[in-house]
C-alpha cells in the first residue's frame, strides 16, 4: 500500500491566514499556489489584490498597513527577487510588518538544484537580512505562524518559503 504523500494543503495555509487576522492578500500567480488562490477567493472576508509586477506588492502592503489593515503577500521566489528595491524602500525602511508567502520554485531537498530561481533565493534573503522559514508540509504549519510573529516582532518583512512545488497546492 502506497504511503500518503507528506503535503502542504492549501487549507493549512488558509487557516493560518485566518488565525492571524489577514484582511488582504496581494498576489501574483505562481506555479505552486493555484489551489490556494481558489480557496482564498472563495472567502468574502478576504480581499484579493492582484498585481502585474511583484514589486508593487510591497507598496500596496505598506498602504494597507498604514490604513490599519493586515496584508499578506503571496508571490513566487522569482517575484521576490524582482521586488528587491521595493522591499528595501517600502517594507524595510518604513518598518512594515508583513508576512510574505513565497513559492520556492526549483527547490529540491535531495539531489542537485537545477533551477537558478532556487539557487539564488536564500542568498537573496540573506543579503536583504530577511528572516525566513522553510515550509514543506502540514507538519510545518507552525512555521507559518512563526513568520507572522517574526514580522510583528521585527517590524519588517518575514518570509515563508513554500517548498511544495509538485504536489499539495497543485493536487
Amino acid at each position: 500500500m502506497a504511503e500518503q504523500a507528506d503535503v502542504l494543503s492549501p487549507e493549512t495555509v488558509y487557516q493560518k491566514f485566518k488565525e492571524h487576522g489577514v484582511t488582504h492578500v496581494i498576489w501574483l500567480p505562481d506555479s505552486e499556489t493555484n489551489w490556494l488562490h481558489t480557496l482564498l477567493e472563495s472567502d468574502p472576508e478576504l480581499t484579493m489584490v492582484g498585481v502585474g509586477r511583484e514589486g508593487n506588492a510591497a507598496a500596496i502592503a505598506s498602504g494597507l498597513y498604514a490604513g490599519g489593515a493586515k496584508p499578506v503577500i503571496l508571490i513566487q521566489n522569482t517575484g521576490l527577487m524582482e521586488s528587491g528595491d521595493s522591499i528595501r524602500g517600502w517594507l524595510k525602511s518604513l518598518k512594515i510588518p508583513v508576512a510574505l508567502i513565497v513559492g520556492y520554485r526549483g527547490y529540491t531537498r535531495h539531489g542537485a538544484t537545477k533551477d537558478t530561481a532556487a539557487t539564488y533565493t536564500e542568498p537573496f534573503l540573506n543579503a536583504f537580512r530577511i528572516d525566513y522559514y522553510l515550509v514543506e508540509s502540514d507538519r510545518d504549519a507552525d512555521r507559518i505562524s512563526g513568520v507572522f510573529e517574526l514580522a510583528e516582532k521585527q517590524m519588517g518583512p518575514a518570509v515563508a518559503l513554500i517548498a511544495d512545488e509538485f504536489h499539495g497546492f497543485n493536487r
Binding site: 508593487n56 506588492a57 505598506s62 498602504g63 512594515i96
Partner: protein
C-alpha cells in the same frame, strides 16, 4: 503649465478630512498642509510605489477619501498599477499625476517619450471610469469640486513646471520634519484610533 506649490494652495480648501499622499510634491505640501496627521509625506521610499501605497490605504479605509499625487517617472515604472487600481475600483481614491516630463530629482533627464504620452488615455484604457488632463491651473480649479464630488477612482493628469534638483543627494536640505517611520506611525495611529 501648472506650478505645483500654487496647485497645492488651490487644493487645500478642498482637502476636508481626506488622507493626502503628496508624493514628490511633498516638499511643497509640508508647508501648506492643515492636517499633518493625515499626510503620508513619504517622499520616495522606492520609485514607482506611490500608486500602490495610495491603493492600499484607500482599500484599508474605504470611508475616507484619499488624494494621491503621483508623478510621471513613478507611473512609468509601475504602469501596471493602473490596471490593478482600476480592477479594485476604490471609490475613495483620487489619483492626481504631476507630469513635468523629466526626472527632476536626478538633474532633469527626460522621461521616455514624455512629450507624446497621453497618460489620461492610458488610465482610461486601463479601466479607470474617468480620466482627465489639465495644463492650466484655472481650468483644474473650475473642475475640482466636481471631480472630488464624484466617485473614484478618477485619474487627473496635470502638466507641471519642472523643478530640477541638481545637487548631490547628501547635500540636499531635508524637507520633511518627520522621519518616514514616524509618518507611518502617525497616519496609522490617526486612522485606527
Amino acid at each position: 503649465m501648472i506650478n505645483t506649490a500654487e496647485m497645492f494652495r488651490m487644493f487645500l480648501p478642498h482637502r476636508g478630512d481626506a488622507i493626502v499622499i503628496p508624493g514628490r510634491g511633498g516638499r511643497h505640501w509640508v508647508e501648506i498642509t492643515d492636517n499633518e496627521k493625515l499626510d503620508a509625506t513619504l517622499g520616495d521610499p522606492a520609485m514607482g510605489g506611490h500608486s500602490g501605497f495610495g491603493l492600499g490605504i484607500a482599500l484599508a479605509q474605504p470611508n475616507k477619501k484619499v488624494y494621491l499625487f503621483d508623478s510621471d517617472g513613478d507611473i512609468h515604472m509601475s504602469m501596471g498599477m493602473l490596471t490593478t487600481i482600476a480592477e479594485q475600483a476604490p471609490k475613495n481614491l483620487y489619483h492626481f499625476m504631476l507630469d513635468n516630463e523629466i526626472y527632476a530629482t536626478t538633474g532633469g533627464q527626460p522621461v521616455p517619450n514624455a512629450k507624446v504620452v497621453d497618460y489620461a488615455a492610458i488610465a482610461k484604457a486601463a479601466g479607470y471610469p474617468k480620466a482627465c488632463s489639465y495644463t492650466e491651473l484655472k481650468d483644474l480649479e473650475k473642475d475640482l469640486p466636481d471631480i472630488l464630488n464624484s466617485d473614484g477612482p478618477i485619474f487627473v493628469h496635470m502638466k507641471v513646471l519642472p523643478e530640477v534638483q541638481n545637487e548631490a543627494i547628501g547635500t540636499r536640505k531635508p524637507w520633511n520634519p518627520r522621519a518616514r517611520t514616524k509618518v507611518i506611525t502617525d497616519v496609522r495611529g490617526e486612522l485606527t484610533k
